[in-house]
Symmetry: C3
Amino acid sequence: MADRMSLIVFSGTVDKLLAASILATGGAAMGMEVEVFLTTWGLEAFRKDAYKTNMRVSKDFEDYAPAMMEAMQTKHAPSWMENFLSAREVGEVKVYACSMTMELFVSNSKTWNPSWMT
Amino acid sequence: MADRMSLIVFSGTVDKLLAASILATGGAAMGMEVEVFLTTWGLEAFRKDAYKTNMRVSKDFEDYAPAMMEAMQTKHAPSWMENFLSAREVGEVKVYACSMTMELFVSNSKTWNPSWMT
Amino acid sequence: MADRMSLIVFSGTVDKLLAASILATGGAAMGMEVEVFLTTWGLEAFRKDAYKTNMRVSKDFEDYAPAMMEAMQTKHAPSWMENFLSAREVGEVKVYACSMTMELFVSNSKTWNPSWMT
């Protein structure tokens, strides 16, 4: 049985989504079965096209946000969404949506992007 | 031996307390031995009656706070405190207070609500 | 084989660094092999001398920051940096720096303090 990685993504700030997406990519590349559970603000971040305009960075470090965004552009670092898509290409990655969050904020499989949630 | 769930509750925002309380409820309902360790802002949230007025939502997503509070009221969603109380009714849930936080912020078993900490 | 403790330090606020440092100290004192992985804002907090001026407290609870800082001074509580140094004195503690963060924010072993990273 393959090793497994389970991630709970609660936050929807770019810095935390980036960290989660790098873990998912690494796990998938190592042949692990990766499960990603999206809840609360983490699920909101997956709303269709939301990732294109999401510039949220943790308020605790928002003074670093411009430097972070600029460094990522200059170094052509892949975005968190690109990382998650790569992870799904190279390995077995399942993404789950929290049903309670869906009910609370009125979302469903059609409101997500990309539409690859389980 | 029953499966165990250990939760460390560090934050005291309503969104995170809600997530922790749902995990505790689910664990208790599945017959797990649930242990909850309250520290720093998570312990402050359990001060007597504090839960009645605590409207803190993660600053990273505070623009969502009114929508979240309204949705919870409209849908009669149980509060995080109600969830924790339910968890204790249906299963074995132990709640521990961090002694270092108690010392730092001067609290004791009489300052908590409810008074069911170990 | 000794028990192991793995910590991922993502945040660089004093409250969270304090919690991580207490876990590291406790693990080291119990004879565990402690591994600390510093990433994103957690690595920034280890920049040389940064700990001397870092007064960041989680924005969600920044109204508590003055009380927290004052209580720590009054009670002579050790800082998070002192805790990490103590942990390394009493046990086996390895600290790793995230290479992606290093690349993004341009840091290296000479920019850290103390210079005991692996």
